[in-house]
């Protein structure tokens, strides 16, 4: 059972993008005028391995309904190995969130290269839709930060 608090629910999506691949991929999707929902707001990080689980939880606390992390494809990391660490950390974190009963589709990790503007747009489109279906984040929210 999904709870939809309002019909016009617009999810807040925080997207962490690595500077070298995914942020550039997002730029490319802009250059090519490939639209994706305004719900997605990007935070630039040097590498996906900079994303601390604290940031992800913080986003949910502060009202995000979905968090997505994007990095270079495995093997293509600008810093050679960063995204491999990301992959392990985020897999374990997501598994833990799932274990605690947080909806799986609120979190995602995607590899988007600087050339994949179209992929970036479609990934964001899809993710926003998935989160929209889930409804507002209630299981991992901080009531003090709930929007009135």
């Amino acid at each position: 059972m999904q709870v939809n608090d309002s019909k016009n629910f617009e999810p807040v999506i925080a997207a962490f993008c690595c500077n070298w691949c995914s942020y550039a991929g997002a730029d490319l999707s802009g250059t090519n005028r490939l639209s994706y929902p305004t719900n997605v707001k990007i935070i630039r990080v040097p590498c996906s391995c900079r994303v601390n689980p604290m940031f992800i939880l913080r986003a949910f606390q502060r009202g995000a309904d979905g968090v997505i992390i994007c990095g270079c494809h495995p093997g293509d990391c600008h810093y050679t190995s960063g995204n491999y660490f990301t992959r392990r950390r985020i897999t374990l974190l997501y598994s833990m969130l799932d274990f605690l009963g947080i909806e799986r589709n609120r979190t995602r990790l995607e590899w988007v290269s600087a050339a994949e503007g179209a992929k970036f747009a479609s990934v964001m489109e899809q993710f926003t839709e998935d989160v929209r279906k889930l409804g507002p984040n209630r299981r991992l929210e901080d009531l003090r930060c709930r929007k009135k």
Binding site: V12, A14, N19, Y23, A24, A26, D27, S29, G30, T31, R33, L34, S35, Y36, T38, K41, I42, I43, R44, V45, P46, C47, C49, R50, V51, N52, P53, M54, F55, R58, A59, R62, G63, A64, G75, H78, Y79, T80, S81, G82, F85, R89, A121, C145
Partner: protein
């Protein structure tokens, strides 16, 4: 107190057509800390930049937010502009309202809303920005080349030509490496020695090059531009400064039963030896494992015959320490041992040889003076079978998963040379695939098949059995004809896979560079930075990075040299200030950060701390070398206490951005 200036760019109509820039500027002007918020047609234009510069001066700004195109586009432009106006360039943040807003959204209302949020996010971050200064680190104008094969020699020569001092460290008594052992080279069939030895001589004569032969790197400290390397000069029991290389000692030495490595163990040398005639440096070396004087104190012949008085039985290993700005790794390769491949009967039959052994058998300076004879009975082989991919493209742990790349070509070379010199000899080659990409390579292979009638058989050899009559039965399958073959050969040649030299892994640890699972050094980027390691100042030359033939090796050696020269040309390196730093008071010294650092930028030291109870405690704490750190941030997440943080992308900055976005 923050005094932030916000500058919203129209980018002509690029932004302004879908984002109400005036509304964005107005909305952001109410944010805390914002003292001026303006919009302008083209913020990146000179007049736009002047607008920013004037505002900085007029309002004494402590931070600047530019709402414009991607920071990948103009971040540097605005940083420079701010810097010119006296504001630290790292107090600038860009809100990307073009690529990530106006260009992808169509509805002005929602696009404007989003632009405001992106602007707020940048404001939230910039309030936490701190001024950063790029550090300058001096460069020692000397390079170290580790390995004196063709790769090392080429890199050294190129660097020396550019006017920089180079040291070559070679673990063998002579430079030259594998190429010195090779007879002819493909696809031109010119003599390897003829093209290599002049280079060796050139290296020894170049006044910028200093060769440490019979030496090994034992420790590396420091970082790009400033490495301190400890070199172990192994005792060769001959004074290098006195030995003239006359070779008299090697003639007189009574211990003549030492397997000769240079000839792949196919013949013997003396205990005091010079590896080969054109060795560089041409200095004798005593092999302590065989020298009777060193083993039991009886003999001393070499010392007696040496007119230069160069022999010194008391010599000890020596260590020297030198500073280098750049290091080129050229540690090369070795063929793997055929021992694990029992089915090919290498250990049972002397007439089953490896390709490198065949090179020596055919070489004029080899054990047979250049006449191809079977090792067992010194007879001329009439039927020779080559077996390809022994240990290459292998899916079990006896061999290597990769293609060794050079075997197809050198086998074609061998087959052709044999057919040329001994037309009565039949040559068979069992192969999985013949891979001949390269200039004039496929033509070369086709010549072997078409012109020299070498029998290429697509298939694997199942078993090699030495027979009583001296023949060797090779059982294999011909996959194209779909039949089993039995060939009674006189000589079987195994194209062994090649692997990185065993010294590479400990070296990689010392250099804090990365290696793949096969012990090949990992390049910084497989396509765009193929000759640099991920560790700044360490360059990769030759097969240590992956299987290569000679032309490729030389090309890469020169490329590595070019990169090293590029570094050595600088007087100092400007470091990216957005690097990690550790708060010593919080650091546990647990080593988690060090383990994830791809650059080896983190070291530990024991430091004294004054504790709250006024006692002094010694704690192990991490310190980041800002000249080596590239700012990826992997360590910041590995650190459980949060002692490690990243300049420019600090925990608090990113969290402030998260807060602003999720508001």
């Amino acid at each position: 107190m923050n005094r932030i200036g916000v500058f919203v760019c129209h980018c002509g109509t690029n932004i302004a057509s879908t984002v109400d820039v005036k509304a964005v500027a107005e909305a952001l002007s109410h944010e805390r800390g914002v003292v001026i918020s303006q919009d302008y047609q083209y913020m990146c234009s000179e007049s736009g930049q002047n607008l920013v510069k004037n505002a900085i001066k007029e309002h004494n700004l402590t931070g600047v937010v530019i709402c414009s195109c991607s920071p990948r586009m103009h971040e540097n432009t605005f940083r420079k502009a701010c810097s010119e106006a006296g504001l630290n360039p790292y107090l600038v943040e860009i809100a990307n309202i073009r690529e990530q807003c106006s260009w992808i959204h169509k509805d002005i209302t929602t696009a404007t809303e989003k632009a405001v949020i992106l602007g707020r996010t940048a404001i939230a971050k910039v309030t936490l920005n701190t001024p950063l200064t790029s550090m300058e680190s001096p460069v020692v104008k000397r390079a170290l080349v580790i390995g004196g094969g063709i790769a090392g020699i080429q890199s050294a020569l190129d660097i020396a030509e550019a006017g920089f001092e180079v040291d070559i460290v070679e673990k063998e008594p002579t430079i030259g490496g594998k190429m010195a052992q090779i007879d002819k080279t493909f696809p031109t069939l010119d003599c390897a020695a003829c093209i290599l030895t002049p280079k060796m001589v050139e290296a020894s004569q170049n006044e910028n090059i200093n060769i440490y032969s019979f030496s090994e790197v034992s420790d590396v400290k420091g970082f790009v531009g400033n490495f301190t390397v400890k070199i172990k000069r192994k005792a060769r029991y001959v004074d290098e400064t006195k030995c003239t290389g006359c070779g008299l000692c090697t003639e007189k030495c009574p211990m003549k039963k030492v397997p000769n490595e240079f000839n792949a163990g196919l013949d013997n040398r003396t205990a005091i030896y010079i590896p080969f005639a054109q060795a560089v440096p041409k200095i004798a070396t005593i092999d302590p494992n065989y020298c009777m004087m060193l083993k039991n104190g009886k003999c001393g012949v070499c010392s007696k015959v040496c007119t230069a008085g160069a022999v010194d039985y008391k010599q000890k290993d020596e260590f020297i320490e030198k500073k280098y700005g750049a290091i080129v790794v050229a540690t090369g390769y070795n063929p793997i041992s055929p021992e694990k491949f029992d089915e090919y009967a290498y250990s049972q039959c002397p007439d089953v040889v490896t390709s490198l052994e065949l090179e020596r058998l055919m070489n004029a300076a080899g054990p047979n003076g250049g006449t191809l004879l079977r090792p067992s009975d010194k007879k001329h082989p009439e039927k020779i079978v080559f077996i390809q991919c022994v240990g290459s493209r292998c899916d079990d742990d006896r061999g290597k998963p990769y293609c060794s790349k050079i075997c197809c070509m050198y086998t074609a070379k061998h087959a052709m040379l044999i057919r040329e010199k001994y037309p009565d000899t039949e040559v068979y080659v069992f192969y999985i695939d013949v891979r001949t990409p390269g200039k004039n390579f496929d033509e070369f292979y086709r010549r072997a098949v078409e012109q020299y009638n070498v029998h290429y058989i697509k298939g694997m050899v199942g078993k090699v059995t030495p027979k009583a009559n001296g023949k060797i039965e090779v059982q294999g399958s011909d996959m194209l004809a779909d039949e089993q073959l039995r060939i009674d050969a006189d000589l079987v040649v195994l194209a062994m896979a090649i692997e990185p030299d065993k010294s590479a892994r400990p070296l990689a640890t010392m250099l804090t560079t990365q290696m793949d699972t096969n012990d090949f050094f990992t390049e910084a980027h497989p396509k765009l930075r193929p000759v640099e390691s991920a560790t700044a100042g360490i360059f990769l030359s030759g097969v240590c990075q992956g299987p290569k033939d000679i032309p490729e090796t030389v090309a890469q050696a020169s490329a590595a040299a070019a990169k090293a020269i590029g570094l050595l040309c600088k007087n100092s390196i400007t470091c990216n200030p957005c690097v990690a730093h550790s708060d010593e008071l919080m650091c546990n010294g647990c080593s988690a950060c060090e383990k994830v650092c791809p650059y080896g930028a983190i070291t530990y030291e024991n430091k004294e701390f004054r504790m709250p109870d006024r006692t002094v405690a010694v704690r192990r704490v991490a310190s980041v070398n800002p000249a080596v750190c590239q700012g990826c941030g992997a360590c910041t997440v590995a650190c459980p206490s949060g002692a490690m943080d990243l300049n420019g992308f600090s925990n608090s900055q990113i969290m402030a951005e998260v807060d602003a976005i999720c508001k």
